[in-house]
Every structure is written in structure tokens, then in C-alpha cells.
């Protein structure tokens, strides 16, 4: 079943795009993008207006005692505010994408502030050249500390970062040797933290204090850099980190690896990453499409994504609802449906904590391997969390977003009492062109019928509509994106 708007745009397709490139879309977002047509909507993603999220000074005025940027639940909450109030959700989806691959945890960094700086870096560089992004990443203080590159010395290398940039961040297992890891690590010696001893003391003294706080900073230390000759992936020279990144970026294994991640994150659930060396991609044509775009556009990640979104592969019916929502997608999409946040509130901590309970502690992944995704998100425990969080969030008909949905139902039905089947059609559409299978629809219609007459113009009717929305966001289909 497809719903067609007056302009002839397939609304389900627009919703598919917006869900993947953002979160569950509101009715306004859907209308706005549908008016542009599909290609126009894609274009808008890459040329958005201002993000206009909840301003950070407002957040800090409300949460001074939470020392908001310093501890994990707090810094995660700052991001949660941003995701649920931004007007450019694609930017946040990109940040989530890189956070999943370049998984860094504040748990080892004593502070969350450097993690927020890293996320901001993803917003800024995440759609640009992969070369620039890798250089930013290699100079990112959070990453340096997370993978111990401050302990990677000229005369005593620490391979942690040198290994992971190849294995987890850029190429994947099987495309380099142990010797390449050593040489790569040598190239990154001297990429360190500025003023480490002083900063460590400062950090320790400041950990739990709200103000006067300084984040770790990057420094290149030429004294501690191994400038000697290195042989890396078959090339020889006195390589620095930038040179190594150049060699990584021109290797075809790199865009193929990133393309598979893009596919996994934006198109359809792939196998867990550790299985990739042994099992090829689900859709080699899709990977090739993105690899070609990468080389044709100076390693541009944005070009890869754009090629993907514009492809028939992405638009096909079978790619819709082909991914299990990550906790962040589920939570943010639901918060946006309910109207996001106008002002800071303690509710934010519930949302951030829930994300962790569902298995995705923002800014605190369990390990550098990030999150596997797919059905790894689903267990009996996480299902209870997912269903209860979503249904709690939409259950209050006085929330701005829910009220808007109710009002729109009322506009469509000036006569008052709404037939349950018609009501469900309206609600599914207004809540973001949500698709449910016919059995599910029948189950919810039965529930709606049990509620007696529903007049959207009344408080009672509004409450009943909210309770139907609670059931809609509790479905299996709502777990998918």
C-alpha cells in the first residue's frame, strides 16, 4: 500500500528516507520534504538550514549541578537534547554513525567534555573527505587517550591505535599484516596530549567540579616522533601519520569497508562486523556503487551516502523496515514524536539512562568495537525497556507533539466520533507514516474499538488517542526502521 500526496510524491518513500537519514519523522517534516519531491528531499539533507537545537547555555542554566559535560550520563544527555530538538537530524545520524564505528568511551577519559568535542567533530567532518576525518580522529584527544596513543613513543611503541585504525576504523581484518600495524604505530608516535602531567593533575582535581574546566588538547611532539623509514602496505618512506592515512585512503579495501558500514547503518542490517572477513556483503552492487562515488569525489563520505540514497537499491520496498532500530533511534524518534523538549528537564536523564538499559550507553560503548547492531539489540530485557519507554513517552496527550496529532485528527473529522479503522489510518500516517502489518493493524483496531466512542475534540478522546499511540509504538513494526 502506498500513500500518494497531492504532488504525486510517494509519502512512504519520503518517510523511509527521513527515518534512515534522521529519526521517526513528524508530520510537518514529512510534508515539508514531500513537497520537495524525493530528489529535492535528498538534496535538502545535504544542504540543510540551521540546526537550531536547544542552546547549551539554556541547558547549563537548568543543570548547573549536573556538571553536565563532565560525566557520562550528563554528557550523553547533552547529546540527547541535541538529537531530540535539532532541525537537522541527518547531522546527528551521521554523528551516531561515526560514534558506532570510532567507538570511544568517556569511561576512560575522566570527563565527558572531550567526548562531546569528538561528536562535534563528527558533525563537522562526518560527510566530508574520509582523509580529513581520519586525520581529525587521529588528533582527537578522546581517541588518543581511549587507545593510549599518548603512550605510543618513539623508542617504545604502543600499538593500540595503530591496530584499531586499520582493523576497526578504516580497513577491516585481512587487509594488512601485523608488520603494517607496527609501522603504522610508529608513524603515529608523537601524536599525543598536550601538557599531560599538568593536565592529569588538573583533571583529577576538577573531575567533580562544575566550572573552570579544561578539556584535553592534542599536540604533536616532534621529539617523540619516529621519523625513520617505514614500510606500510607495500610503500616505503619516512612516513608520518598523515602519510599513513593517505595510503589507507587510497586502498580500495577502505571505501569497501566504510561502504559496508554505511549499508549496515543506513540501508539494511548486515552481519556483525567480526564476521565480515569471512562473509561477503549482502549486496555487493550497493557497496560498489559507494566505492565508485568515493573515488570519483575525493574520498567524500557525503558522496557515498548521496549515491546510496539516490539508488534504486535504497528506494526498493525490500529495504524498508529492514533494520532493527538502535536504542538511540528508538528513543529519539519517540521523543520527537511527542514533541521533543522546549526547556531542559529531568526527563532527559530518563531518556539517556533508558538508552543505556537498552544496550547503547551514549559516549560509553562497552568496547572499541562499538555496538554490533541488528538482532543484538533485542533481548527479553531490552524489549521491556523499549516498549515501556516508547509507550510512556507518547502516553501523555498534553505533550506538544501528541496534542498536534490529536488536533489533526480532529481537523480531519469535524463530525466528532471517529471510526476505529479510519482513526488508525490517520494515526499511523500522522505519527510518521508508520507501517504495520495487517494482523497488527487488526489487533490495534480491536483495542481502539474497546475504548468506546472517540471524539478527538474532547479531553477524553485525546487521552484515548494517546493510549492507541502507546500501542502503536509498542508493536514489532515500531522496532524496525
Amino acid at each position: 500500500m502506498t500513500t500518494t500526496t497531492k504532488s504525486g510524491t510517494d509519502l512512504d518513500l519520503i518517510a523511509h528516507l527521513l527515518r534512515r537519514a534522521g529519526f521517526n519523522p513528524t508530520w510537518d517534516e514529512l510534508q515539508e520534504h514531500a513537497a520537495l519531491g524525493y530528489d529535492g528531499a535528498v538534496d535538502r539533507l545535504f544542504n540543510p538550514g540551521p540546526a537550531d537545537p536547544m542552546p547549551s547555555d539554556v541547558i547549563r542554566r537548568y543543570h548547573p549541578d549536573q556538571t553536565i559535560t563532565q560525566i557520562a550520563p550528563s554528557s550523553g544527555s547533552v547529546w540527547m537534547y541535541r538529537m531530540s530538538t535539532t532541525k537537522t537530524p541527518f547531522e546527528e545520524k551521521i554523528a551516531l554513525f561515526w560514534h558506532r564505528i570510532f567507538a570511544t568511551g568517556q569511561t576512560k577519559l575522566i570527563q565527558g567534555k572531550v567526548m562531546l568535542t569528538q561528536i562535534e567533530m563528527f558533525r563537522k567532518y562526518g560527510l566530508g573527505s574520509f582523509r580529513d576525518l581520519l586525520i581529525q580522529l587521529s588528533q582527537d584527544p578522546a581517541m588518543i587517550l581511549w587507545l593510549d596513543n599518548q603512550d605510543n613513543h618513539k623508542d617504545n611503541i604502543n600499538e593500540n591505535y595503530g591496530r584499531e585504525i586499520l582493523e576497526l576504523f578504516a580497513m577491516g581484518v585481512g587487509n594488512y599484516t601485523e608488520e603494517d600495524i607496527k609501522e603504522c604505530s610508529r608513524a603515529f608516535t608523537g601524536w599525543t596530549i598536550a601538557n599531560m602531567p599538568y593536565m592529569s593533575i588538573r583533571m583529577r582535581n576538577n573531575t567533580l567540579r562544575p566550572y573552570g574546566y579544561v578539556a584535553w588538547q592534542y599536540k604533536f611532539d616532534p621529539e617523540d616522533h619516529d621519523d625513520g623509514e617505514k614500510t606500510f602496505l607495500g610503500e616505503t618512506g619516512n612516513f608520518n601519520g598523515e602519510d599513513v592515512i593517505d595510503i589507507i585512503c587510497k586502498n580500495p579495501a577502505t571505501p569497501a569497508f566504510i561502504a559496508r558500514h554505511i549499508y549496515h547503518h543506513f540501508v539494511a542490517d548486515e552481519l556483525p562486523v567480526p564476521q565480515w572477513p569471512f562473509e561477503g556483503p549482502k549486496d555487493p552492487a550497493a557497496i560498489q556503487l559507494m566505492v565508485d562515488a568515493y573515488f570519483a569525489n575525493d574520498y567524500s563520505i557525503g558522496a557515498m551516502l548521496r549515491a546510496m540514497f539516490e539508488s534504486d537499491i535504497f528506494k526498493s520496498e525490500e529495504k524498508r523496515h529492514a533494520r532493527i532500530k538502535s536504542p538511540a533511534e528508538l528513543i529519539v524518534g519517540t521523543l520527537r514524536m511527542a514533541g521533543g523538549f522546549d526547556w531542559p528537564t529531568q526527563e532527559i536523564f530518563k531518556a539517556t539512562a533508558a538508552c543505556g538499559y537498552m544496550g547503547q550507553s551514549l559516549l560509553a560503548p562497552v568496547s572499541v568495537e562499538g555496538w554490533m547492531g541488528g538482532d543484538d539489540w533485542i533481548s527479553t530485557g531490552s524489549m521491556v525497556q523499549r516498549i515501556n519507554f516508547a509507550s510512556d513517552t507518547v502516553g501523555d496527550h498534553n505533550k506538544k507533539g501528541i496534542r498536534q496529532i490529536v488536533d489533526r485528527v480532529a481537523e480531519r473529522h469535524p463530525e466528532g466520533n471517529v471510526d476505529p479503522e479510519e482513526l488508525l489510518d490517520d494515526l499511523l500516517e500522522l505519527a510518521g507514516a508508520i507501517h504495520v502489518e495487517s494482523d497488527t493493524l487488526a489487533g490495534i483496531v480491536t483495542y481502539a474499538s474497546q475504548q468506546g466512542g472517540i471524539d478527538p475534540r474532547t479531553e477524553d478522546g485525546a487521552a484515548k488517542i494517546a493510549s492507541i499511540l502507546q500501542l502503536i509504538v509498542s508493536t514489532r513494526e515500531y522496532q524496525l526502521v
Binding site: 543505556g356 480491536t446 493510549s467 509498542s474
Partner: protein, 379 residues
């Protein structure tokens, strides 16, 4: 009431790294006094035990359990090439695979051995909102309970009648249809398991009666939940609880004492409760932490170290000391940390084989020396 029940394991995880030296304190040892110039349990504070060791002053209630002969202290527990990262080290304890990244939890695998078809969705119950990896294994259902009194699905529905109707709709729309695909089937099965688990567990608080007053702390609340579910006889064999906040880089002396007070008084109440209901003999508690802490203090706390202490507690446990306290000689330390001298996988083997009656070898990945803390077990 005293019918024979299946044996039950309760895990108490101390997250953050319990400082071994200030938990089981070698208080008379000058090497301890020197290393812990600032972060020391003093002679006046320590609760003397035996063998020249004492307990953290927060462990008075724990001492009661020890005096009843219920507590096995397992010294110097750890694993080869220790990781000082919280998550990695916890991951190693959870998966029993120190040498590579393990995917399956040791208890998840144990539960699969007990109930291969996942026929009882409450064989394992976790108290806490996040599922620890120890319990995770493909196809193994685990109920994760934040608050037992308020546990269930769709708890945010406005009225009781509405919730009833919504739950009935829920079970209908989660029932896998024909040809809806693997992912939808998996979601359906998991959702229905969650629903069933909630239905079963919500009976427990209603059936529970006790004169024991638990302290008002998060860990005691979890342990009370364990007691309630265990007494309801729902077939739960593995319980998991977590006490957080043990990462005592700063303000250690006050912090660790406070945490041990919470855990000790919670455990004492739990065992009193079991005793009141004559259910003590079926229950064993494992208390562990991901690592111990650095021998030398940092002025106000201690940093991550290796070599720690675990406890096995229960009526059927032979109380006392197991393995040895690692040497505090500077020359015997490894990178400033205590050298572990007992592999935790040996303790897991004890628990799996001699308590839960399972095949341990494939779970822990080999043969490890056991300590045989159970009265009936053959050494």
C-alpha cells in the same frame, strides 16, 4: 516448606574495582602500612579476623556471616595478563575468556545447559535495568527487572482496564504470523517471552511474607527481590545483582566503607530471610569485582590494579580462607599490582560443576584448578 529445591546461584557484582587491600586488610604488615600511607585502614578501625588479616570497618555484618562459617574468602583471584580497563576486565569475568573477546556470557551458557529450549523464561533473573554480558547468550531468555513491585510491560497505560486490554492486544499482535520473516518472528518470540516473564514474576511480591527488615539501599532492594522470587518457587536458578560505585580513585576510605556497609547489611538480611523460610541450603552467593586496586595509594584513593578477592557465601559453603594472599614484597608485585595466584575460571568451575551440576569445561574453556568450597563436594 522445606522440600528439596534445585540449587540457586546469586551473583553480587561489585562494579568499579573493590580494593582488595582495604577489604581483607593485612593491617599488621609494615609493607601494607608503607604502601598505604594515606589510604589505610588503621588498627583502630579494622575488624580483626584471623591469619593476621582484618576486615574493612564497613563489613561488621559480613563478619557475622563469616563467624557463622558461611563465607569462603578466595584470595588473589584474577587471570593471566590482567587488564586494568573496567570494561575489558569485567568482560573477561563475564565471558570467562581472557585471551580474546568472548561473545557469550558464562551464566548465559550455564542457563542454556539447564534449559536448552528456553522453556522457562525466568530461569535467570537480573535485578537492574541493563543486562550484564554474563547472562547474555543467543536464545537464552533473561528477565531484567528494575523494580519488582512495578515490573511488567506497558506499565504506563493510564487505567487498569485499559492496560488489560492493551496487554491482550499486545499478545495478539506479537504472535508470529505465517511468513512474516525471521526478524519479525524473533521480535515476536522475544516480546512474548518478556510478557510471560513479567506475568510470572509479578506473582512473587504478592506471595512473599517475612519479618526480616532489609536496609533501604539499592543492593538490599535487589537482594530482597531475589528472596521474593526464590521463595515464589518459579524455577529461577540464577540471580544477578550489581552494586556500583567501587571505582575509588578518590575519597576511598569513606566510600569503600560505606559501600561495604550496604553490601554486608544487605547480605546479612538476605540470609536471615532465607533462614526464616528454611531456604538457606539451596542458595549460594558469589561476590566478585572486576579487579583489585594498585598497591600504592594515590594520596586520596587508589588506581586500577590486578589481583583481587572474591567470596562464596552460603549454608553449604565451608567457611575460611582459600588460595593465598599475594605477596606484598615490592619484588613480587607486577607493575605495582598484586600478582594473582588463583584463576577465576577455577572458581567458576567449582560453581558450575559442584553447585549447579553442569559441565563447566566448555563454558570456562578448559580445566582449571578448583578450590572446592562446598561441604559435600569431592576435592
Amino acid at each position: 516448606m522445606a522440600e528439596q529445591r534445585e540449587k540457586v546461584l546469586v551473583v553480587v557484582q561489585l562494579s568499579g574495582g573493590n580494593d582488595y587491600l582495604n577489604c581483607i586488610v593485612p593491617w599488621e604488615d609494615p609493607r601494607y602500612q608503607d604502601s598505604r600511607a594515606a589510604v589505610r585502614i588503621t588498627e583502630e578501625e579494622v575488624i580483626p579476623l584471623d591469619n593476621g588479616l582484618g576486615l574493612n570497618p564497613g563489613m561488621a555484618a559480613f563478619k557475622d556471616l563469616y563467624d557463622e562459617g558461611k563465607v569462603a574468602i578466595i584470595h588473589g583471584i584474577g587471570y593471566p595478563t590482567p587488564s586494568r580497563s573496567h570494561f575489558r576486565s569485567m568482560d573477561i569475568w563475564h565471558t570467562a575468556t581472557p585471551d580474546r573477546v568472548g561473545e557469550q556470557g558464562w551464566l548465559g551458557q550455564a542457563i542454556r545447559q539447564m534449559d536448552p529450549n528456553g522453556s522457562n523464561v525466568v530461569t535467570a533473573v537480573n535485578f537492574g535495568n541493563a543486562l550484564p554480558r554474563a547472562l547474555a547468550a543467543p536464545g537464552v531468555p533473561v528477565a531484567s527487572v528494575g523494580d519488582l513491585d512495578d515490573y511488567g510491560l506497558l506499565t504506563g497505560m493510564a487505567g487498569a482496564a485499559q492496560r488489560e486490554q492493551a496487554l491482550s492486544a499486545f499478545s495478539r499482535i506479537y504472535t508470529p504470523g505465517v511468513g512474516s520473516g525471521m526478524v519479525m518472528d524473533y521480535l515476536g518470540q522475544t516480546g512474548l517471552d518478556a510478557l510471560k516473564g513479567a506475568d510470572i514474576l509479578k506473582q512473587a511480591p504478592a506471595m512473599y511474607e517475612s519479618t526480616v527488615e532489609y536496609p533501604d539501599t539499592p543492593i538490599a532492594k535487589s537482594l530482597k527481590g531475589v528472596a521474593q522470587v526464590h521463595m515464589a518457587d518459579l524455577g529461577t536458578r540464577v540471580f544477578y545483582t550489581v552494586s556500583g560505585g567501587w571505582d575509588t580513585h578518590t575519597n576511598e576510605v569513606a566510600l569503600q566503607r560505606h559501600l561495604w556497609e550496604e553490601v554486608s547489611t544487605g547480605l546479612r538480611a538476605f540470609f536471615q530471610d532465607l533462614e526464616e523460610h528454611d531456604l538457606g541450603p539451596e542458595v549460594t552467593v558469589l561476590v566478585f569485582s572486576e579487579f583489585g586496586r594498585r598497591v600504592k595509594d594515590n594520596g586520596n584513593g587508589t588506581d586500577h590494579g590486578s589481583g583481587g578477592v572474591s567470596f562464596v557465601i552460603g549454608d553449604q559453603v565451608k567457611g575460611g580462607h582459600y588460595s593465598e594472599y599475594p605477596s606484598l614484597d615490592v619484588g613480587r608485585l607486577i607493575e605495582g599490582d598484586l600478582a594473582y595466584n588463583f584463576d577465576f575460571r577455577g572458581l567458576y568451575t567449582d560453581l558450575l560443576e559442584d553447585w549447579l551440576n553442569l559441565d563447566a569445561q566448555e563454558i570456562v574453556g578448559g580445566n582449571f584448578e578448583k578450590i572446592s568450597p562446598f561441604a559435600g563436594a569431592v576435592a
